[in-house]
């Protein structure tokens, strides 16, 4: 299983791969992934690679990712080439009209890629008082809701209970459900 997680520095994408890693390790599987630290974290494009299984390299090669988790729609589109034929993407969408672009549709059709858009900012504004740092768990919840990514919502919740600071656990779990609910609709 190979994941690519993309977004903008400061959005908290690293926590998502920590959750996935925690789940895999508790199942007794091997994990390896790659993160971005340093200058790019200052508001620039960031990408996290994550692989579960017998791999040596932390990097996902183009056309081999099973799942793309995108915290920003522009970063999503820039990184769609990582998805394999039949790959799936959860995308936090803020300007849905971009997905009407014909060339983009051609690409997605040609590679049989399925997109799962979620209006993350709207949801967090409505339910979480605009605390956009919860995007990471919202997207993980959405991934479970869409039935992709090969992890269950219970596993995600358990991992968050183990990893998140105690005072934030409850809020995090609430947001996982929000993400799950948005997809299951």
């Amino acid at each position: 299983m190979q994941y690519v997680i993309v977004g903008i520095g400061g959005q908290g994408i690293l926590f998502s791969s920590r959750v996935l890693g925690h789940i895999a390790l508790s199942r007794g599987e091997r994990v390896i992934g790659s993160e971005v630290h340093g200058m790019a974290q200052r508001g620039g494009s960031v990408i996290s690679h994550f692989k579960i299984g017998k791999y040596s390299s932390p990097l996902v090669k183009a056309k081999e990712a099973d799942v793309l988790l995108a915290f920003d729609q522009n970063e999503a589109i820039r990184n769609l080439h990582f998805l394999k034929r039949g790959g799936k993407a959860i995308i936090n969408v803020h300007a849905p009209e971009a997905f009407e672009n014909e060339s983009l549709k051609q690409f997605l059709k040609g590679r049989d890629i399925e997109l799962y858009p979620i209006k993350g900012y709207e949801i967090l504004k409505e339910h979480m008082n605009g605390r956009f740092l919860f995007l990471n768990v919202l997207i993980l919840g959405a991934m479970c809701g869409a039935g992709i990514g090969n992890v269950t919502i219970d596993e995600v919740k358990k991992a968050i209970e183990d990893l998140a600071p105690p005072k934030h656990i409850e809020a995090n779990l609430k947001v996982v459900d929000l993400g799950y609910g948005a997809m299951a609709k």
Binding site: H37, Q41, L59, I77, H81
Partner: protein, 619 residues
């Protein structure tokens, strides 16, 4: 089997350092090495070892502290990024000749790409230059294991030993096995011995041949005794191609061959690139018709190969000579070496077209919303728009976005470049305003010598020290101007920044709140007038805590009055905040509340008074 945990490569290296009984660990932060020392402190607290863990003011300081602790018999380490070793090059070259007592591990993190550096230099070359053995890990788990062998080698041969993880190893996350701490009881005992510890030329005449002998002996060991790091993964049947791969490139090659379904390629992994086990490598080459060498970033293994007639590498143009060897790049190189076609899919063209049509480009790094540096740069630019702006290494290099960073070389060079610019104009009898910017940590790192020199030589410029009370770019480490230390209950003392500046002989010094852009604009002008009149540097310290420290501050919600905004983009060009963006269709600026942190500084930015506090504050 010990317990398994998912660790960042740097945390794994740190764990290895503590487990191996290191008692003195020193570093200066720099991506991609920064997480190592804090993790050493964390593991040392957790495992209750005595290890002292300290940030030096710069890499040379850290290296020399670690070196002397080794002279006294302790297991020590110095940790830095690749350009940090340039700063520590002097002691590194020198200490290489010493017959050390305690094991001395030098961890140097390289940044092929580069992702967060001013060069993508290869530290393995530095190891070769200094004649120091080097380990080059392919994964986090291997990096941790190599720490033990590096200490062992260092103590058996009395030589400093380099571990060279590259960024993909430092920042990979992998399941790693945890072990207990090696019990090493070794009280500090420095035995005086001038021949051993004083690097007089006469002693070098003895020590250099000795260093050569150590190199020969270590090369022999790497040939035979290190098969866990240097080994062949054979092809099934006759190999169409041989690949020699080191470091992260080995891991990339192995995953690639699996996904390509190639069984006709054999791979020789090299984990000890210097001194190269040349016989092992020669035997591998002899078995193949052609051999591809993959390593990052310079041809270190390749140049050491004695007979290169069958070798395809960087020296003869088969492998790109710059940039990271990403899987896509390596795949193409392998196919080319095999003499096979590289097929590109037609779908990619649609995606390229979509990106063009939607005008989507990689997002450039920017200073964080609310960052005090943005306010400081704005004041400087408004005060002296025609000045030359030398700057330095840190988050504030991103002042390029505000057109207030004109020249950057390396740590501390904002000050020395100011001197150089001043002199270049002085010889012509001319004068031009100069405003240098440097961060607080960078000032303590290498700013002080430049400032003392500028005062001594009477150079006129304004030095703006952007004091955010942290080493920010690398993730928030402490430094002498902050005074906090890494281990629990470890006491440090803050060095007064203004006092240090005064001590260098600077007479005009003012410390200001960075957010006060209107007042600061006048002060920058005043500072330059003083510097010009008195032929000496004037120093303004812009103070405000880094946003990463999350210090509580007043929240001032802002809005852009859409009637008053004339769409001039002044705020975009000179303030450049992620929270203040431009609507290209409406030709108006607006607040992007996804990013705005309500610092309120931009209220004073718009020349047309279009940015308002929502409580009615107006510029």
């Amino acid at each position: 089997m010990g317990k398994k945990m998912i660790l960042l490569g740097n945390e794994a290296i740190a764990r290895g350092i503590v487990e191996a009984g290191c008692e003195v660990a020193c570093a200066y932060p720099g991506t991609p090495s920064s997480e190592i020392l804090p993790a050493v402190a964390k593991w040392a607290d957790e495992l209750e070892t005595k290890t002292v863990v300290e940030w030096g003011a710069n890499e040379k300081v850290a290296f020399e502290m670690a070196a002397a602790a080794s002279f006294a018999g302790k297991r020590t380490c110095a940790v830095m990024k690749q350009v940090g070793l340039n700063v520590a090059a002097d002691p590194f070259m020198s200490v290489a000749h010493f017959q050390l007592k305690g094991g001395f591990l030098l961890v140097v993190a390289d940044d092929p790409g580069p992702h967060s550096s001013q060069t993508e230099q290869d530290s393995r070359f530095f190891a070769m230059f200094a004649k120091v053995p080097c380990f080059d890990p392919s994964t986090a788990a291997e990096a941790k294991e190599m720490v033990f062998d590096a200490y062992d080698l260092s103590e058996r041969h009395g030589i400093v030993t380099m571990l060279r993880p590259s960024v993909r190893v430092d920042h990979c996350r992998q399941d790693v096995e945890l072990l207990d701490v090696l019990p090493i009881e070794r009280p500090a005992s420095f035995e005086k011995d001038v021949k051993r510890w004083v690097c007089l030329p006469a002693h070098v005449k003895i020590n250099h041949p000795l260093l050569n002998k150590k190199n020969d002996a270590i090369r022999e060991e790497f040939e035979k005794d290190f098969s866990k790091y240097n080994y062949e993964v054979p092809a099934e049947g006759k190999a169409s191609l041989g690949i020699i791969a080191g470091g992260i490139s080995f891991a990339v090659v192995m995953d690639l061959l699996t996904s390509m379904g190639r069984k006709d390629v054999s791979v020789l992994k090299i984990g000890t690139p210097y001194p190269l086990p040349t016989k092992l490598v020669g035997d591998f080459i002899a078995k193949h018709d052609k051999v591809l060498v993959l390593e990052e970033t310079y041809p270190v293994i390749e140049t050491q190969i004695i007979d290169r007639s069958k070798v395809l590498g960087r020296l003869n143009g088969w492998v790109p000579r710059a940039g990271e060897l990403l899987p896509e790049v390596v795949e193409e190189v392998i196919l080319k070496a095999l003499g096979e076609e590289v097929v590109s899919s037609s779908e990619e063209e649609y995606l390229k077209k979509a990106l063009e049509e939607l005008k989507i480009a990689p997002r450039k790094p920017m200073l964080c919303p609310g960052c005090p540096h943005r306010a400081s740069f704005f004041s400087i630019k408004q005060a002296l728009p025609n000045a030359i702006y030398p700057s330095d290494i840190g988050c504030y290099t991103l002042g390029v976005n505000q057109k207030t960073v004109d020249a950057v070389i390396d740590m501390g060079a904002s000050i020395t470049q100011s001197s150089g610019f001043y002199l270049a104009h002085k010889v012509d009898g001319a004068e031009r305003p100069i405003v240098a910017t440097i961060g607080d940590s960078t000032f303590f790192h290498m700013g002080l010598p430049g400032l003392a020199s500028a005062v001594y030589n009477k150079h006129a410029f304004v030095l703006a020290i952007l004091d955010n009370s942290i080493t920010a770019m690398t993730g928030g480490q402490s430094h002498p101007g902050v005074g906090e230390k890494l281990r629990k209950e470890d006491e440090g003392r803050r060095v007064d920044l203004e006092g240090a500046v005064r001590g260098c002989g600077v007479k005009w010094i003012k410390t200001v709140e960075a957010y006060d852009v209107r007042e600061n604009k006048d002060l920058v002008k005043e500072a330059w007038e003083y510097a010009k009149a008195n032929k000496e540097p004037a120093v303004l310290i812009f103070k405000h805590p880094c946003m990463l420290l999350r210090v509580e501050q007043d929240k001032i919600p802002v809005k852009v009055d859409q009637d008053k905004c004339i769409g001039c983009k002044f705020c975009i060009d000179f303030f450049n905040c992620p929270g203040l963006v431009f609507d290209e269709e409406k030709k108006k600026a607006y607040i992007d509340e996804r990013f705005c942190v309500q610092c309120g500084v931009c209220i004073n930015v718009c020349p047309h008074g279009a940015i308002l506090g929502s409580n009615g504050e107006e510029a």
